[in-house]
Symmetry: C2
Subunit: 304 residues, 2 copies
């Protein structure tokens, strides 16, 4: 499994219809990432059996309460549960101040460290990197500074075809072939032609998270061709004006972005409380982009 | 009904065993007061059918997260639900700053006003008064500044005995008698002796809230003889040392305070997560103070 995405909260603004405020856990290449943290996220982590102490990286998209009011509670509980290892928060400017002031007034000294990495509004930056994957920010068009996140597996090496190479081949030759180069002799003559001895690498998997945002084609270069795009769809299309006023998107707009960015699959969420039933939102989006699903709390989307 | 108390949250520190962090709604003389506001309080207000827009007064005992992390979410939701009337928060020093900074970074201008009334640490003060009742703060002994609250009906007038007074008696005479004075003629001679024409007034009702605190006999003068005392009992008696270290109380200590303050009824709560079963805590407290009950979420204690 390349990645799995667990939905913890799917509603906009306030909790309603048994839906809660935005939060997700993405597990990519064995690393769990918490993305946004609405009020009560820690309860849903527990309910859906996600081990909160395994989470070392939290990404916050912006400072509207429905995306971060659960963070202080989670931070406090991790402390009370005895956490020692650092917690990395990829944060909008201001979040560190909000957290620090609350720790100050409660006279709390956490028994673990919080490393804040502020993303820069209006830019795309590399926020996280390990041997297998990277996470980049990219700007969304919302009422306040807001960032999307692209989680992406690193390019893989070419695969050596079985049974063609001699057994005592040198490690350097293997590396050269895996890197996509031909193996040459001292005169520059091709000894082993790459395409004869290697297959294409396994595909890189990728997940893009876009909440909250107006319809904005500027994000397309960042999310182009991803395996899974989460794009907010707060409103149905008949509320397009309201969506624009409030810096949100409609179902059709989410579908349009998915189509233009040629993503493989679209997941919509951040539903307005006015919609008790979500099927009509799904149907409307599918008129534009067929491979769409609803973000539903407790459900997990996996990518093999 | 003089007052009713609805328990919204009863656990200490973190949510566990289907118990949540501290919050209560006291309704006294038709006025609902929210006391403390742990994470997710707004969900439990909804669950237990308490109309959040009716709440105009919120009392926060101290700035440990399990007593106030639900406040920002509630404030935001009241705004989104269209509240216009002011909200009064009786707050520890620092809370206004914590709320203001979060409103600033979310670029939120609430469509209602918040009036902060800071209580002064280490003192007892009148925080609220209307024609029927008063609310006073009083200091508790906790790791950070922490206040108890005494909700008290105002002294009532004496009651005129039926059928004894002439029909055309003057309003001034009635007021004089209700105030407990004899009615005199111009020479100072008693015309109507108060005790002959009046009965004792109906009893004043009172509720005292004490969470979080160490065992502290200094609170007794403030809570003496109340109808209902809520006193935290985080630990059983075998954890007395731990209670003292963490500035909390045991079951026995809560019982001792109730007994020494000669209250009518004791309610314990703020249970440590180590206790899944609460009956043993109740039994232990009752060895000291028989008229004790457990604070259980969703339950309402009424006082006629």
């Amino acid at each position: 499994m390349s990645f799995s995405l667990k939905i913890l909260g799917s509603n906009a603004a306030i909790a309603a219809h048994h839906r809660h405020q935005t939060s997700q856990v993405l597990t990519m290449m064995q690393v769990p990432f918490l993305i946004d943290c609405g009020e009560g996220t820690q309860l849903r982590l527990k309910k859906f059996k996600v081990k909160s102490q395994r989470i070392d990286h939290i990404f916050i998209s912006h400072l509207h309460g429905d995306h971060y009011y659960g963070l202080m509670g989670l931070i406090s509980s991790l402390h009370l549960y005895g956490r020692k290892k650092p917690l990395n928060i990829y944060a909008p400017p201001g979040l560190k101040e909000i957290i620090s002031i609350q720790l100050k007034y409660s006279h709390s000294i956490l028994n673990y460290e919080i490393n804040y990495q502020e993303w820069t509004p209006g830019q795309s930056e590399l926020l996280f990197e390990n041997v297998n994957l990277t996470v980049h920010s990219f700007p969304l068009d919302h009422r306040i500074d807001c960032s999307g996140f692209l989680f992406q597996e690193k390019p893989k090496k070419r695969k050596i075809k079985k049974g063609l190479l001699e057994k005592n081949i040198s490690p350097l030759t293997i590396i050269t072939l895996k890197d996509g180069k031909d193996v040459l002799d001292e005169n520059g003559k091709i000894l082993l032609e790459n395409k004869k001895y290697t297959d294409n690498p396994a595909r890189q998997c990728s997940y893009a998270y876009c909440s909250d945002t107006r319809y904005d084609e500027n994000i397309i270069p960042y999310i182009k061709g991803v395996d899974l795009l989460y794009h907010e769809a707060t409103f149905k299309e008949d509320m397009k004006e309201r969506a624009d006023e409030t810096y949100h998107s409609t179902t059709i707009q989410a579908g349009e972005i998915a189509k233009k960015a040629k993503v493989k699959k679209l997941l919509i969420g951040h539903y307005s409380t006015r919609y008790k039933e979500l099927e009509p939102m799904l149907e409307e989006t599918r008129t534009i982009f067929a491979n769409t699903e609803l973000a539903l709390e407790g459900e997990t989307i996996t990518q093999e």
